[in-house]
Subunit: 238 residues, 2 copies
Amino acid sequence: MTNNLHVCLSPALIPLYQVEDYIVVIIDIFRATSSICYGIDNGAEAIIPVSEVEECAAYREMGLAYLLAAERNGEVVPGFDFGNSPFSYTREKVSGKTVVLTTTNGTHALHLSRSAKKIVIGSFLNLTALSSWLKTQNDNILLVCAGWKNNFNLEDTIFAGAVIEQLKGRDFVLDDPAIAASDLYQLAKDDLSGYLAKTSHSERLKKLGIEKDIAFCLNVDITTSIPVLQGEKLIKLK
Amino acid sequence: MTNNLHVCLSPALIPLYQVEDYIVVIIDIFRATSSICYGIDNGAEAIIPVSEVEECAAYREMGLAYLLAAERNGEVVPGFDFGNSPFSYTREKVSGKTVVLTTTNGTHALHLSRSAKKIVIGSFLNLTALSSWLKTQNDNILLVCAGWKNNFNLEDTIFAGAVIEQLKGRDFVLDDPAIAASDLYQLAKDDLSGYLAKTSHSERLKKLGIEKDIAFCLNVDITTSIPVLQGEKLIKLK
């Protein structure tokens, strides 16, 4: 049987898919899923994605030695250890630790995909490791772009296209969003940062003074771990 | 002040826009908005878009000499005069007549955009006429893709890109969907039908035996009328 390789361009479109029929890859390039990939690769024991800032804060009350990370609109929420800058997820900072994380877009997309067969986390940092694993699964794949405030964004779509490129030659049926993502990736792949420099989100992040984060999130294949959701926690796929 | 030129990739994303801030262009290339442009250009007095098949049927009871058109899932609904094939909107058939029309995607997108400053109808048939008029408006423009069952499709997105191409040189701010639409159009423009032949929707329409409709809907600039919503009716913009 031929499997589907579909792309969901925004969390607002997730209800259009029978999520339970797919392995879902959550994509939030700037910056949540890049940081999650980096953190898990750097030995974080687990990263717990939660939807609300309040849920994140509630972990403080439990008296556990968790790191608490909260980002809204691209900035660290006051009172939290850090947000979703990848530079907060170095080995030194997260090795052996559990991080509780809430972000504007990425954790939202993840929670809407809960009924999937499996949920894994993708970013340019683990592109080839992720794609190689997907090739072994013989299943339907849904690449879910977290987007920006429920709308389409280019960086997540381009990454979906990068995964599709790696899966070429396998017998998948692509939907229209997958064809578009694949074609846009062809335009972008020789100069990812140049291509993405023209996007609205990139402008927005520049204003926040986090150009270094953006550049870091476009590093291809600097990690080999695949974060997978197990219960409430993202852990390293064995 | 710089105006926005935005693209809404699916009706499901319309709530993310402040529709009242824009002139909205409704796009449903295969086939509703192509047929509307053709019908209005061929002298139809008005085309009344309604959301539900039942609303369309209700006009029969009124005993008016309206033509009733209803399409669902690409097919004419049994009991109706016709659906949304452009070949039903020739001068011979619609000149001087009023058509009541309900379609799967196009009329849905239109009704969700009701609060816009103005609603006009776009298709390849009236591309240049529409774009020339938009250039004179000095206002925010939202290109709304009707898509397929609330999801993204390539043909509507490519057309949005064609409009953006025509508006180049004007000082508009593009959002990410507009950048994507524009880039995809660059890939498609030299061979629209070849590019779109790979889409899922094109496959679906082929199965319905309406390849001729598809080819017809990709005729560029064979009409000069711009349908505009006035009250409940689409009429020719004077």
